[in-house]
Symmetry: C2
Subunit: 430 residues, 2 copies
Amino acid sequence: MNRTLATECKNKVGKPVLLKGWMNQLRELGKINFLILRDRSGYIQLVIEDKKELEKVSKYYVGTVIEVEGEVQESKQAELGVEIIKPKITVLNPVEEAPPVEYNKDEIQAELPTILNYRPITLRNRKIQAVFKVQATVLEAFREALRSKDFVEFRNPVLMKTPSESGADVFEVKYFDGKAYLAQSPQFYKQMMVGVFERVFTISPVFRAEKHHTNRHLTELTHMDGEMGFVTSLDEVLEVIEYVVRHIFEKVNEKNADELKLWNVTTPKLPDGKFPRVKVKEAFEMLQKRTGKSPDRKLDPEPEDERGICKWAMEEYNSDVIWLTHYYKNKNLYTQNEGEFSLSYDLLCRGIEWLTGTIRIHEYKKLVEGMKKEGFDLKNYEGYLQAFKYGMPPEAGFSFGLERITQKIFDFDNVREATLFPRDVERLAP
Amino acid sequence: MNRTLATECKNKVGKPVLLKGWMNQLRELGKINFLILRDRSGYIQLVIEDKKELEKVSKYYVGTVIEVEGEVQESKQAELGVEIIKPKITVLNPVEEAPPVEYNKDEIQAELPTILNYRPITLRNRKIQAVFKVQATVLEAFREALRSKDFVEFRNPVLMKTPSESGADVFEVKYFDGKAYLAQSPQFYKQMMVGVFERVFTISPVFRAEKHHTNRHLTELTHMDGEMGFVTSLDEVLEVIEYVVRHIFEKVNEKNADELKLWNVTTPKLPDGKFPRVKVKEAFEMLQKRTGKSPDRKLDPEPEDERGICKWAMEEYNSDVIWLTHYYKNKNLYTQNEGEFSLSYDLLCRGIEWLTGTIRIHEYKKLVEGMKKEGFDLKNYEGYLQAFKYGMPPEAGFSFGLERITQKIFDFDNVREATLFPRDVERLAP
């Protein structure tokens, strides 16, 4: 007999089936006993009345891998509308010790560090599974959206001879007799690729050697980057990004309705038309009016400011997202400035910066001039500068944090909850 | 006027258009001059008769970024069947120096190291562009094939506390006051994830600190990994992989016919039914008969052997691919052995190993026993072992090298030609 998945049983009422999966729960009530089987499609209930069958599994623990022949029967109470009766069970791989955390409960009763220590089994929790099913959809939707706009996927290297943006907070690698560094972003490569394909994207790990112990810092992250040439206005880039964001949420709602329901969450609220936009200067003035606090106008907004701006966006525009543009001039080598401001844009969502991007300097001379002024050693940027010397269109780009997007869909406090295997100052395993 | 892409001009005969792109070639013939404009869609010819217009660009070099208003006219000789007449040109960003390599020729007249040194501009060569358009399709098709078989995408970490497979050939990272290592493969993580989603895949950079100076070794590669649970036979895994391979080539043929034509290549020839299979022992016997050479049966096949086996597969089965299975027992900690052989399978294609995989050990006790025997320190594998202790189905997996697949589609001698920004013992830039 061929294997039937749990959710396929709906179409096999009255028929014999062969199921395979994990024993996710066993309720022994005496005469009638219930075993919940988990497989890749979902969860289904087996009704065990035969004592011999019960004995096969009752000595083992949650996670025991089994094979079941049984019959599908309608059941109003069962989640799938069907259950399995008269099961004949074969244990394929027993679990002989109780798991250290009860991952098969609706909620795992443990602190986050414990949950992360036992990640290989806590990921089997239904609600936690849901988070990473949604994350898989985010990855797929991001690519789909950009491909539909003529963006070509490429693979950027992670090992670099020169730290990508600045020397600070970069991990050093022993590279044979010399050194290499881990990419802090695919920034330089995506810009080079604009000279090749005009519109490109990459999904890549990025690394930050920041010694922060906060709920928003990781040392390894997944960034979803896009870069586009022949940009004529800020509007044009923001439009593409807004399309990507809409597509991600549409796809999540379409593919992951069950997962969202399990958490009782909805994807962030987007306005009908363009996303609201506010310049940093104006946002700071607004914050001052509302809170009395005067943010330091030379610095980027602090977490508290970002929350204040998002709160205002919801009240004013009924939107969970808001563009914060025209940050005060910054020192990265590739961003275009305009007077005391930079042509930059961050998308905030539910209190946190979620995407960041800028219009780039595309003129070789201007780029070199700026780099010299800031003390960059041009020799280290030979490849990057080639791309500009030999013809670069006006261009702009953006970078999403996969973990943050996932975090904000579920509105988690800690980005680690939205990371499969988080890496931070203290954590490198599992 | 809105921008029109080069290939869209076919539908705008007789109409005015606004084009944007790079000057890819300028042929000055006197009265009539031809400028080939490159944009993300392709190449189109402008016919310049107005001297004033010619002067705007003739002082600049290939790569100069321009904007053109002109009229579309049919042209039998032109590649697209149309050309642009009466162009009014605006230079958006000039190139003021001749590029160090003539990338706008059909073939770049330079050795590979030079081509790689100037990657940001040599990638603009039409044939080289084609390689990486195909590579983008391979990535997309791999994911598409596996998603259609219920595989869930996940992101594995690259920073590891313990080297993933063995201590050899691993890069060491300075990690705050301690050390970390770069993943040699996502092996452990994909196996852990089988306990969560049953079927998973990931596309990820992997790192090999091998001091080899060959045409097949890189220090950073892209691996496309899949892993599946509830596998009952070798057949079942190979069938999934064969489906993935077929889908990749179908998609490449569908999306990249032009790119293949440009190189005058076809995707590797696949047999109508199942891919041919041969056990390593039998392959060695066959090689001995055909060549007189007797390969050392304790070792893996050498490059020369792989080429011999592929030659035989083509003669015998009219196939560019062949499964080589049942390698002699190896020492990795996770592969199931059967007597003196391992339950392993490599897919060879056009003379090279292209994909590798094995049936895994899924029983906790057997895994621990084997690791102890081989001297692995169990403490370093806590997370990995958790997944098995608390319930793992019979499972198997596979790993494709993205660069090698691309290499074999174009039948390049050197894997670097199929790598955007190769990393090797000597090369870390651009």
